[in-house]
Subunit: 138 residues, 2 copies
DNA sequence: CTTGACCTTCCATGAACTGGAAACCTCATC
DNA sequence: GATGAGGTTTCCAGTTCATGGAAGGTCAAG
């Protein structure tokens, strides 16, 4: 099938499918006489697989590894689990980082009047975070 | 002072300071006869300000706006607060997205044996998420 | 044979830097 | 004045994962 249909069936945009071909993540099963990429059901399956993995935040390189495990009948599920655990750890640390930002931002917005006057704890904090809290309290 | 000292005092790498100059975020106060960038205390203050804002996840464009508000004695704190609120909302939605990934990944790793056998709920899920849960239950 | 949809390749862009190469400046020492 | 170390300059490339667009080739229908 043409790239357009593979896109429709897999949910991956044609442009992205070309990109995956370029980086040797998912190659078309062949080319037609006219130079069109040709995809079979197995390729579409891979495209779907990668779409799901990307949706769970796996990097393209992770997807490459996962795809190869997926295609390997002799794989050990431990390898998949370990890859996933590492990814999960990255996600958790990202969440922690964002939560920390969130707390600070919530605290600052709560203390900012948000009126037409210039006084602003948010700017004070950005100008010197080590000082503004103490000042606010003292 | 030279870029190296500005870097030391502000905590922003010299390379990044050059980049901020290039994108007109923070310009050096001048240039020496030899062509070296020259930074004064006010510039260092801006660098610190931007470092803090970046640390809270604000985009460089947000930093540009915040810096201009910081320098504006007639600013309305409402403008700062509104910018911050938008940023906070983006962070919260990012957290929600990551939390959703996290839940799925945790569920999958919990169900994966992680041994030397090929059976793997994680790969099953990636191959077809709409099916694997039902299969697991049914 | 022409239209229109679809496909091709190639190049540019985004976000925010970071690394490295080749050359230049500065200051101290001999 | 030469030399050497260390800081600085500019410019180019690379990172991640696509996405948008231009110029042109292919294909099926009428």
């Amino acid at each position: 099938m043409n790239i357009g249909e593979a896109a429709k069936l897999s949910g991956v945009p044609a442009k992205t499918i070309r990109y995956y071909d370029e980086i040797d993540l998912i190659k078309p099963s062949g080319r037609t006489a006219g130079g069109y990429r040709d995809y079979d059901e197995r390729a579409v399956e891979s495209l779907r697989f990668v779409r799901h993995a990307r949706g769970l935040g796996f990097s393209v390189e992770d997807c490459r590894a996962l795809l190869s495990l997926y295609r390997d009948r002799n794989r050990a599920s431990a390898d998949v689990k370990s890859l996933t655990a590492k990814h999960l750890a990255r996600i958790e640390s990202k969440i922690a980082e964002l939560e920390s930002m969130k707390r600070t931002l919530q605290d600052l917005t709560a203390r900012c009047q948000g009126d037409d006057r210039p006084d602003c704890p948010i700017l004070d904090n950005l100008a010197g975070p080590e000082r503004s809290r103490a000042e606010a309290r003292g």
